[in-house]
Amino acid sequence: MSHRRKWRLAGLLAAAAALCTACSATGSPVDLATVTSVERPQPAGVEVNPGSSTGTAAPVPPCDPNASLRPGPLPPAGQMPAGSTMKAIQDRGRLIAGVDQNTFLFGFRNPTSNALEGFDIDRVREIAEAIFGDPNKVQYKVITSAERIDALKKGEVDIVVRTMTATCARWVDINFSATYYVAGQRIVVDRASQITGVDQLGGKRVCAAKGSTSIMKLRESPAPPEVVAVDNWSDCLVMLQQGQVVAVSTDDTILAGMVAQDPNVKLVGPRFTEEPYGIGIPKQSEDMVRFVNGVLERSIASGTWTASYNRWLGQATEPAAPPAPRYRD
């Protein structure tokens, strides 16, 4: 009896000891490095849902944005008429063109040769050729979408050829050449995405360039997305590849350039806008507008336009006929 009691006592003590050891270690293992979230890198100057910068309250007079000024006969290269804007450019020795170096197929820097190339750059070279007889007499100034109007107004550039849509609001500040290409806004998403149209983007993160017509269209959409605004269109491709946005929405031509760089993204949905591209020219230089329109007409007539189109956009989009020029006078 006393034996069993002894054992029971020993057992109790052991149990108590075990319990005490357990209760002394009430804490949890110590983590020296706790990381629960990752801050993703972002392109420079990213803004989410930025305030509308182009939201001028002034009423825009109604107009036909496609109609430009009728060209006269083209002077021969190197012999620009005295006193004209073109003569001033000829005397300077180079054409200053505001372009893009980040939009594949339109205006981009070829990383292998360091040279700017693309459909827009071909237009610049044609104009330089017409003024100097040498397509290389160009100083390229890279500008962002948001800087296009200001660069022209301040006279920093002679022309802007940068996937620029002619709109009545922009006609107030600058002149446009005749339409040299008609694009339309669509969206690009990841290949696995279920999204098929702009109406499914409500509340989702969608990338667009600051100061573009695309960003305004997204804001006006019946299902407004969360707009991620960047400086350059290629920043949008980066953010789409990094999974930081679900879609990019802009002109199909720019989007085609993204699809060409990454087979894992796709163009979806129909065109939901029409974007007539014009070459931007300062408001006061009407002679330059007529001259540029003459160059465009000649380029379309000679087949240069079609050759340039086939080189850059032939595979990416459906074959297109050159737009018929329209004039307001």
Partner: protein, 426 residues
């Protein structure tokens, strides 16, 4: 208790108490002095073996990262597949930054601010290198997305990595300065104890002279002599040490700090120069920053870091090196002006050539020379720091055991001197 009280009334009692008190003060003074001097010795060793190498590691992170940013931009500008030399330089920069980061993180300790910087650096460095490699892959295929990835990488570098590296370097440099300050600080506790002991010895001897009519007590004189020797020796050693540490500070660590800042500014400015060309007119911010930074490298203003460094230079060789740096910085600024003229005048290709080509008057050549000058001066500054701080350590050689032995001699003198007098009362 009563015995002690009674003993104060008699001369032998008083003498015993005096002896005990003197021995206690001597022991305390000896121990405190030895410990203080040992602490100084340890501080000096720590400066050379630990603190300065860590500050050097922190600045290594900073300059390797700045250099990687500048090199990546240059490689991009060169078009096509980047030149092997630039690729090698970029890879070495990343490897050095990574290795130095490992060393720096081991020292963070309880400093949460330093810990934060190390966390940012170690989390974002792999992200940065990933972006650069993605940019490279896109470039190889001729896609302009490569340029966008490179811009994102550079933004990450400038917005997060470089500020963290700069902060970490500042923290480490502050610690280095604090430790130098510590090495040069005056050991007040030991000095007060020395004064108390000296006063007690003088008073005791005057008391004994009055009581016994004997002028000198050999034991107490020996103790006083030991005290004087200890005082003179340690004061001289500490003065010499302090002078060395001062030289190490002025011609060593301060000089290095000024040069580090000059080199970082030069690297940042070089990145700005190339990024302006990469942006092709779309980067007015870079050119503005270049103008700001260039005022710290050229000109007669007080902001000119190269001139500041030259004023702090210890030897003629370093001063020569820095004079060359001043000249090369001027050559670089001239080359930069030419680049801007060419680019603004529409000669982009020539501007690129002037920026990254290897012509003798190109910006790349002038910058490379300037960088070499600054590296040479930086290394000279570090060597000066090492020499002077080691010299400071040598000035204290043997002082700790010496002070201990002198304290024992003083104690023996006190014991013998007073026991001799006590014997006369038996």
């Amino acid at each position: 208790m009563t015995r002690v009280a009674r003993s104060t009334t008699t001369t032998p009692g008083r003498l015993t108490i005096m002896a005990v008190a003197l021995l206690v003060v001597t022991a305390v003074t000896g121990i405190v002095a030895a410990l203080t001097l040992q602490a100084k010795q340890d501080t000096l060793d720590d400066l050379v073996e630990h603190r300065e190498p860590l500050a050097a590691a922190a600045q290594q992170i900073f300059r390797s990262l700045s250099d990687a940013d500048a090199t990546a931009a240059s490689a991009f500008l060169s078009g096509g597949v980047e030149p092997q030399a630039l690729r090698d330089r970029y890879e070495l920069d990343l490897a050095q930054a990574g290795a130095a980061l490992g060393k720096a993180s081991s020292d963070v300790g309880g400093d949460s601010l330093a810990g934060d910087q190390v966390a940012i650096l170690s989390q974002q460095l792999p992200v940065y290198s990933g972006l650069v490699e993605t940019a490279r892959a896109n470039n190889r295929q001729g896609f302009p997305a490569g340029a966008a990835y490179l811009r994102e990488a550079s933004t990450l570098m400038r917005a997060k990595l470089l500020p963290a590296a700069e902060k970490l370097y500042e923290i480490d440099y502050d610690r280095l300065q604090a430790e130098q300050e510590d090495a040069r600080s005056i050991p007040w506790a030991a000095i007060v104890l020395f004064v108390v002991l000296a006063a007690a010895l003088v008073l005791t001897q005057r008391y004994l002279t009055r009581k016994t009519n004997r002028l000198l007590n050999i034991g107490l004189v020996t103790a006083s002599a030991a005290l004087v020797v200890a005082l003179v020796w340690s004061s001289a050693a500490l003065l010499v040490m302090s002078a060395h540490v001062g030289d190490a500070e002025r011609n060593g660590s301060q000089q290095v700090d000024v040069l580090v800042r000059a080199r970082i500014n030069a690297l940042k400015a070089r990145a700005d120069e190339t990024l302006t060309l990469v942006a092709r007119g779309d980067g007015p911010g870079y050119e503005q920053e270049w103008k700001q930074l260039s005022t710290t490298l050229v000109g007669d203003g007080p902001d000119n870091l190269l001139r500041q460094a030259k004023a702090l230079a210890a030897g003629g060789a370093t001063a020569d090196q820095l004079q060359q740096a001043v000249d090369n910085a001027a050559a670089w600024v001239a080359a930069h002006r030419k680049i801007r003229e060419l680019d603004d005048g529409g000669q982009y290709e020539d501007a690129v050539k002037a920026a990254i080509g290897d012509a003798p008057d190109s910006a790349a050549t002038a910058f490379a020379k300037l960088d070499q000058n600054m590296i040479a001066a930086l290394n000279a500054g570090r060597t000066e720091f090492f020499t002077q701080t080691s010299g400071a350590g040598k000035a204290l050689t043997g002082l700790v055991p010496g002070v201990a032995v002198l304290a024992l001699i003083a104690a023996a003198g006190i014991t013998l001197g007073i026991r001799e007098r006590l014997r006369e009362y038996r």
